[in-house]
């Protein structure tokens, strides 16, 4: 055979496998409102940048009638490519091939591309669309999952790992996304659960739909398993592109710096926060007023909305923002908010992203449900994450900083590099009303007009303590600043922190309150 003939034969062979499960299965996939695995990869990556490997891998199962079954690519597409020029490794499970079920060879294709990503120090993106373990392969499928989880863990904190849930992802399969840094879900398409509605109904008699049990919205709003929530696959793929542009390719690098831009936000930053400390506002407006081009990529927008986390740029450099959100639950810290912020802080620290903390919080959320849910150990995660982080850490106290929350929100005492406070900041052990009730209990009780005395004492407390100057007098606050100066000061603080060199005692790893 001439080489020309061989080339033609190769092309034919490729064309067949690239069809995945064939026309009928593809039709079904499209009817479910889903893109095919290949379309997803090609849409996400830069044009002509995708290169596939292991196209001709085949399964070796001989039992249960599998010996004569040909599964294109064993149900998963793997390869490398670029997103806006950034190199990445990628895999996408192909639901048209036996429901995207995971057998040993399918898993080995995934672990091979994961090994590659870790060695080459590039991000790894996994697109999940699979019915789960290939039952016919029995324990070999479980082995496959385990090998993936192990690599997820080895890669954690070394390369960014992104999971995209574009179909069912049930049983053991959910643990790979859970171990990765960012999980993307799409309304009506993503489904994640450990045990599905059928099992739950059979075993426990509880009836629930797939959507209510583990749909996209549930994971974006209730469980916090998903970081990004989109209404369509295309929107989701755009979100991934934006995220990839903001994060470094590995822990050995910094995020790519882009040309600095001024904020486009028009409102005067001084007018965002209401004068009455009991009135809410949207803290994201403060972020918009500070970031380059007023852009901010929010993570976990719906879950634990009382704290805001995400990436924005300052002077072209990627910054992780952590901000209390007075608009929801008065901006308190609770189990979920602590959990959300702590993992984000760990991420930023692992990937050399400086952290800017914007603080306006009344304390930890009181309640039996919180105490019983373990707010002590969840809250401790924040203390741990901030203390452990060695990236530049800057805090701006916008308004309230009370009690344990003051300590937790990257205080000087946990190692903040710069502590700024706006002139209206109230830094105190608790709100003035609560403090006055305790400190002046006797005076208030003995007064003829208790209420008048209480008001007088509250006022006294506010004047004496509910301001930034007590903390500034002790050096806990470096500077009391005008809101207008905030951006320039942040840029400056980041500039002088560039070569920050901070070390931790040698350890294998810490033992954080998980």
């Amino acid at each position: 055979m001439s080489l020309k003939k061989n080339i033609l034969a190769l092309r034919q062979k490729k064309a067949i496998v690239e069809k995945g499960g064939g026309d009928k299965a593809i039709e079904k996939q499209v009817a479910m409102g889903k893109m095919t695995a290949r379309e997803r990869i090609l849409t996400l990556l830069d044009p002509n940048s995708f290169h596939e490997y292991d196209l001709f891998v085949e399964h070796e199962e001989r039992n249960f009638g599998m010996d004569d079954k040909v599964l294109a690519g064993d149900g998963v597409i793997t390869g490398t490519g670029t997103i806006n020029g950034a190199p990445i490794c990628i895999y996408a499970q192909d639901f048209t091939v036996m429901g995207g079920s995971l057998g040993l060879k399918h898993a080995r294709k995934i672990t091979k591309i994961m090994d590659h990503a870790l060695k080459m120090k590039v991000p790894c993106i996994g697109i999940n669309d699979s019915g789960g373990a290939r039952i016919q392969e029995g324990i070999s499928a479980l082995a496959g999952y385990g090998e993936i989880f192990y690599r997820n863990t080895m890669s954690s904190g070394v390369i960014p790992q992104i999971s995209v849930i574009l179909g069912p992802c049930a049983g053991g399969a959910v643990y790979s996304p859970a171990l990765t840094d960012f999980v993307f879900v799409v309304e009506n398409i993503s489904k994640m659960f450990i045990t599905g509605p059928n099992v739950i109904e059979t075993v426990l008699g509880e009836k629930i739909s797939q959507e209510d049990l583990g749909g996209a919205r549930v994971h974006a709003e209730i469980t916090g398993n998903a970081h990004f929530y989109a209404m369509s696959e295309l929107e989701c793929l755009e979100q991934i592109k934006e995220l990839v542009s903001l994060i470094p390719h590995s822990n050995l690098q910094k995020a790519v710096k882009v040309a600095p831009k001024k904020p486009t936000y028009k409102k005067n930053i001084e007018n965002i926060i209401p004068a009455d400390p009991k009135q809410p506002y949207d803290v994201r407006e403060i972020i918009y007023a500070l970031t380059d081009d007023s852009k901010f990529l929010e993570i976990h927008e719906l879950w634990a909305a009382n704290i805001v986390i995400g990436f924005g740029r300052l002077n072209g450099e990627t910054i992780g923002f952590v901000a209390n959100q007075p608009m929801y639950l008065a901006g308190v810290l609770d189990c979920d908010a602590s959990d959300k912020a702590a993992r984000f802080i760990l991420y930023c620290d692992a990937f050399n992203i400086p952290i800017v903390t914007l603080e306006d919080m009344p304390g930890y959320l009181p309640g039996v449900d919180q105490e019983h849910a373990g707010v002590i150990r969840h809250g401790a995660k924040m203390l741990y994450a901030y203390s452990e982080a060695t990236v530049p850490k800057i805090t701006v106290i916008l308004r309230k900083a009370y009690g344990g929350g003051y300590i937790a929100m990257n205080s000087r005492h946990l190692g903040a590099d710069f502590m700024f406070a706006w002139p209206g900041a109230e830094i105190a052990v608790m709100g003035p009303e609560g403090a006055a009730n305790i400190i002046f209990r006797k005076e208030i009780m003995e007064a003829e007009d208790e209420e008048a005395m209480r008001q007088q004492k509250v006022q006294e407390y506010i004047e004496k303590f509910a301001n930034p100057f007590v903390a500034a007098s002790k050096g806990y606050i470096d500077a009391v600043i005008e809101p207008q100066e905030t951006r320039e000061l942040l840029l400056h603080a980041l500039e002088v922190s560039k070569l920050k060199d901070d070390h931790r005692p040698y350890k294998k790893h810490g033992v954080p309150p998980f």
């Binding site: 426990l204 608009m327 009370y402």
Partner: protein, 113 residues
Amino acid sequence: MPENKIDTTELVDFAVTARKYKTLLTKKYKNRKVWIEPNPLEIQSFIPGTIIQVSIEENQIVKEGEPLLILEAMKMRNRIEMPFTARIKKINVNVGDRIPKDTVMIELEAIEE
């Protein structure tokens, strides 16, 4: 940069220590389980499952530690025992019932010993 307008009609008074803040509530917060002091005279299911056996009758006095019923859950037959000696006031479950978690299965009545 989305315009973020706060829907002021949804704002509630939210007490954190002695001060009340105007704020919105999250869905999860609204749906949180309100704590109820447990009643020692009610025997509740600690796990969802199926009643396999009921070993007692109403009005019977049962001694502490004696078996009351068997609740099968996760392929395990859990023997539910009498927490203290008392009279069985009411049995709310039958053999074959599939019950959710925290169902009051048996109501007790204290007796003078």
